[in-house]
Amino acid sequence: MSGPRAGAPTMAESTYLEAIRQGLFEEMERDPEVFCLGEDIGGYGGAFKVTEGLQARFGKRRVIDTPLSEAAIVGAAAGAAHMGMRPVCEMQFIDFISCAYDMLTNYVATARYRAFLPCPMVVRGPSGGYVRGGPFHSQNPEAAFLHTPGLKIVYPATASDAKGLLKSAIRDDDCVLFFEHKYLYRRIKEQLPEGDYVVPIGKARLAREGRDLSIITYAATVWKALEAAEQLEREDGLSVEVLDLRSLLPLDDEAIADTVRRTNRVLIVHEDTVTGGVAGEIAARINDLAFEWLDAPIKRVAAHDVPLPYAPQLEDFVLPQTGDIVRAARWVARY
């Protein structure tokens, strides 16, 4: 993916990964009730070094190396959250969140509703493909949690959003699933906003303005969409708008309706497999919110419906690429 900005980092720039680490540091500084738990996050600093230095700074009491037990990590976080603490769980790879699926969807998500038990906690971890990780280190499981009322889901595409959304997630009074795209960890960098920068959950970001067509997307494919938009402008003179959802639960209906009403044509792009992915929910909402404004069918660009294979040739074929977005966008624009 060449979408992310190129160029060596200047002193002041931070990567997506550093932004997350900064968010953790600042929130742990700010609130003594915040603590982290997960596998190998302490002395080792986590498989991707996101939590590096955290234990040295805050000690073993607040940065806990756990046994290899995702259900226990999430369940224990819930228990501590009930007591007023604010746990941040790391899944070493987000693929392993499936082991805590019951705990998250049945226990955590319902706690406030069925028992008036607050459950302020964050579950974060490296997600996504394009990294030759194979079927179990490349997943995008967000859609599996989309129909669970009680959970919130965010999936940032930029370093500032990663930091700002993590801080919001930690301060949120409910459980937030925080997906981090591992392809972006070290590939994108930017100057982060000064001070206590917070990005509200549930608000999308207009990544690029346009008039002819809207691409609605999130996470790594935001960069592919931007790349495609530039190409479409260059080669076709098309003015393409790109909406970065940032939050998937709740979705920003207003931003979705606005962009569709502006351009009347929409392409939904995500990295997850097409069937049952988040794009379906977005398509249904556009029907609800802006049917009359549609001048072309809502089309989807996403991964093929197969487990994600490991070999570069196979992974690249299965996942959505910039060229796919360009082709699909041309079709929708010309429709």
């Binding site: 369940g75 224990a76 228990g79």
Partner: protein
């Protein structure tokens, strides 16, 4: 299944329970049994919504173990469906229980959850969910917070013999053991998981044996002996409060009623239930103990029984008059923010929905 009581209660070693406390234990056991009997009547009158779960014959293990906690210190327990007694000890009221079962709008969960699925962190009990085993990791976290904050509070989590087969039980108790959380794990071995006998649940001879694999002490006690149960739990609670981590306790008891009221127990060997009822009823045993060894008079006991009946009668009258839930309350409080889930469009009437579908002038002029 035979009853072994390796740890029969010995008045000599009884950890200083006053006479009042001994009577209070009887009160809670009697309250548990009578309240459930009242629920059976209401169930037959179809006033109970959904299933009814009994703890007949298990009152001692629930009451005796919960009694070992110190509410004044902020101890917390997590009950199962057969731990009505434990919840009463922690301060749950008959009125709350009745309203829950009758799905009333002023029940502790405002009609959202069933039977005794409710909690109150102030009084120190956490609302369970149906998925068995899940409360063990949760209580590991509750007690982890006690440890991280340097509080001298203790947690107690109950699991059934069946629930020990869940991955959640394993992950939770192991996590708590490694973190040395101040947690007591009680396995209520009542012989069955629904229709499944313990022999089909595990190949080990005693659930206590699971402790060694977690590197924690494991003890077994006669769960139908309320004082023995109190004693062994109290020791584990003190150990936890003292910073020595998790203890696993297996309480031997027996589920005399079906899994739920509808279950005819066809799978139980003939005579088994009757034998337990005859030879090993926790209330009968405790009554003997109180009268023969602690000089409690039948008068005193009758006074307790009278108090129990009066409380239940009053609670029933009050619960019967409780209002049904307000339908729209169903949309409140899924999240702290937003605190309200919006009602679906076809319930609001049609105008709003139509409005959002009127497109302005620019018909099809997407290119400008």
């Amino acid at each position: 299944m035979a009853v072994t009581s390796p740890l029969a209660s010995d008045p000599a070693t009884l950890p200083g329970l006053t006479r009042d406390q001994l009577l209070e234990l009887y009160y809670y056991m009697r309250l548990t049994r009578s309240l459930e009997e009242r629920l059976v009547n209401l169930y037959r009158q179809t006033k109970v919504v959904g299933g009814l779960f009994r703890s007949l014959g298990q009152e001692a293990d629930a009451v005796g173990s919960a009694y070992a906690l110190d509410r004044s210190k902020g101890d917390v327990l997590s009950p199962l469906i057969r731990n009505l007694g434990s919840m009463l000890v922690q301060g749950a009221t008959p009125l709350e229980i009745l309203r829950q079962y009758m799905a009333k709008g002023d029940s502790p969960t405002r009609g959202r959850e069933l039977n005794i699925h409710f909690g109150d962190t102030a009084r120190g009990f956490i609302g369970q969910i149906s998925h068995l085993g899940d409360m063990v990791p949760v209580m590991a976290g509750v007690t982890l917070s006690f440890k991280l904050r340097g509080q001298s509070r203790v947690g107690l989590v109950y699991v059934g013999d069946g629930a020990t087969s869940t991955g959640a039980f394993h992950e939770g108790i192991n996590f708590a053991a490694v973190q040395r959380c101040p947690l007591v794990v009680i396995i209520e071995n009542n012989g069955y998981a629904y229709s499944t006998p313990t022999t089909k649940q595990t190949a080990c001879t005693s659930f206590r044996d699971k402790a060694i694999g977690y590197g924690i002490p494991g003890v077994r006690a006669d769960g139908n002996d309320v004082l023995a149960t109190y004693q062994v739990t109290k020791e584990a609670v003190d150990r936890a409060r003292g910073g020595d981590g998790v203890t696993l306790i297996e309480l031997m008891t027996y589920r005399r009623k079906g899994h739920a009221e509808h279950d005819n127990q066809s799978y139980v060997p003939p005579g088994e239930i009757e034998r337990w009822a005859r030879e090993n009823d926790p209330l009968d045993r405790y009554l003997k103990e109180l009268t023969s060894r602690h000089g409690v008079s039948t008068d005193e006991l009758q006074r307790v029984d009278g108090r129990v009946t009066a409380e239940i009668d009053q609670a029933t009258d009050e619960a019967e008059t409780s209002p049904a839930p307000e339908p729209r309350d169903a949309l409140r409080g899924v999240y702290a923010d937003p605190s309200q889930t919006s009602v679906l469009w076809y319930r609001e009437g049609l105008r709003s929905a139509v409005e959002t579908h009127e497109r302005p002038a620019s018909w099809g002029t997407h290119d400008g």
